[in-house]
Symmetry: C2
Subunit: 304 residues, 2 copies
């Protein structure tokens, strides 16, 4: 099944476009998540992080279509963190969720291929096959140009997965480079958008979303309309809802191609909902994810 | 000791500005590097990669001032790869080499801090302290703007290490975004250069190199003069010599601030020298690294 059909059917099944961000901080885990660990600090922290992610997936996962592990948060725990990442990816997949690896990689061709092996289908070696994370999507940084992105697209396509290129991010600093006006007209992020449109499958099935999408920050909804013009067939990953100030209600243009046109990620607003609204961490997370799910579902068009 | 003084004294001691790139591919290791491994494929591949890097450091390290592990090549080996990375970093440090982590990370503030913890000084957790890689420099992608770079600078500065921001990379695709002409004059990479100059220490010691530097591809030496105008105090990491087509002899403007103004990285031309020139892998690597060392040393000015 093509990436676009797989995405659309998963969104339809789960009636959700919400992506559960997994950005575990060992100092802010849910109460009880630290009960299981033993061994060195990194091993104990990784075990606790893994338990925390499991609990978060159990609680909020049913209202979501995907999880988005933030690779930095696992990397800082060393080798035990890498094992916790694999285990968390597997747990999410078993719960019926798509997996979006958020690592924002980008490098020259041979190195991009190495990253892509790690994230998607793995690699053959003289020592035997080494598995990749086999994620459904991974975020990629386009600063270095098309040859830094293509190896990710090839590796993703080989396993019917997709790529999400940073186009216009949700942070204040995005204005420093991404928003610069170009001499030939337009701004820098619009060139990244053109790259996304160019690299997506030449001919996805009728009405299908292509396998190269865009990260479009939800904090500047004014950009979404223009982004849709430039990338009519692309999946938009919309971060920045909640803690960063974005509101689901402002995201309608992202859903122009239909219900599979965009996914909305939220991390801190879900995991920390109990601090804001009271109740148990799980109940509060479930309620917040469900609130976001309803808002996005209501907003989106049922054509896809 | 400040970063700039540490860099300059190390370069003076070793009479070298050569950076040994470590991009191990399990399918192209030096003969004999696969003898030690056992266990699962990833464990065996990681052990072989580690042995290969050790042999490469033993052979070519004496002609170099630093190693530059390519994080992608270790990541694709999973948790055993992460352990091989730590061991390789430690081995290089014990051999008197600086360590440049080449990961080209970049993300919103909270995530950038997590990456920086991993690369530099580690983190405190309720489970105890977790060590970082404690590298001397790490490459960072500035697409997302100043707030995606600053956390790396802070973490590096706390341990008297430095940051290398991608300014103008060595790959053909660099032209796609980095070289775009801006409406206000200049090109995109010049804005990244301005960021580098802005973020470097306010007042490094007289004649010292600042702790924020730039990756400037050696494949387009015409840019180096302009880059020096924009970043007079910055360390330049110059990749792209050898396999990518750059020549040491063309890099003079990079050394304008003196001998600690730039370091030249080479990977495939050193590790694969025996395929090109014959002889044992170690002897050929040593000879090629020494040839590069002499060429750069001769080219550079002894003021620093």
């Amino acid at each position: 099944m093509s990436f676009g059909r797989r995405l659309a059917s998963r969104i339809a099944e789960r009636e959700s476009q919400i992506v559960l961000g997994l950005d575990p901080d060992p100092a802010r885990l849910w109460p009880g998540a630290d009960a299981e660990g033993q061994g060195a600090p990194a091993e104990r922290a990784a075990a606790a992080v893994q338990a925390h992610c499991r609990a978060l997936i159990d609680a909020a996962g049913p209202a979501c279509v995907a999880v988005k592990p933030q690779l930095a948060c696992f990397e800082r725990l060393g080798a035990p963190g890498r094992m916790a990442l694999s285990a968390t990816v597997a747990y999410a997949r078993d719960a019926g969720l798509l997996v979006i690896a958020d690592g924002k990689r980008g490098d020259i061709d041979v190195t991009a291929r190495a990253y892509a092996q790690s994230l998607y289908g793995g690699l053959e070696t003289p020592f035997g096959a080494i598995a990749g994370l086999h994620v459904d999507l991974a975020t990629v940084n386009p600063l270095m140009g098309i040859d830094a992105v293509e190896p990710f697209v090839e590796a993703a396509r080989a396993i019917r997965s997709g790529v999400l290129v940073l186009v216009r991010t949700s942070n204040p600093g995005a204005a420093d480079i991404e928003d610069l006006d170009l001499a030939g007209g337009g701004v820098v992020w619009e060139r990244a958008a053109a790259l996304v449109d160019q690299l997506g499958e030449a001919a996805p099935g009728a009405g299908e979303i292509a396998d190269v999408g865009a990260v479009m920050g939800a904090t500047v909804p004014a950009h979404l309309q223009r982004a849709r013009e430039l990338m009519p067939r692309a999946l938009f990953l919309l971060p920045g809802v909640g803690a960063q100030g974005g509101r689901v209600e402002d995201l309608a243009p992202a859903f122009a191609p239909g219900r599979a046109g965009a996914v909305v990620s939220a991390s801190r607003s879900i995991v920390g909902a109990y601090l804001q609204h009271g109740g148990s961490p799980g109940d509060a997370a479930r309620a917040e994810a469900e609130r976001l799910r309803e808002a996005a579902w209501r907003l989106s068009d049922p054509r896809l």
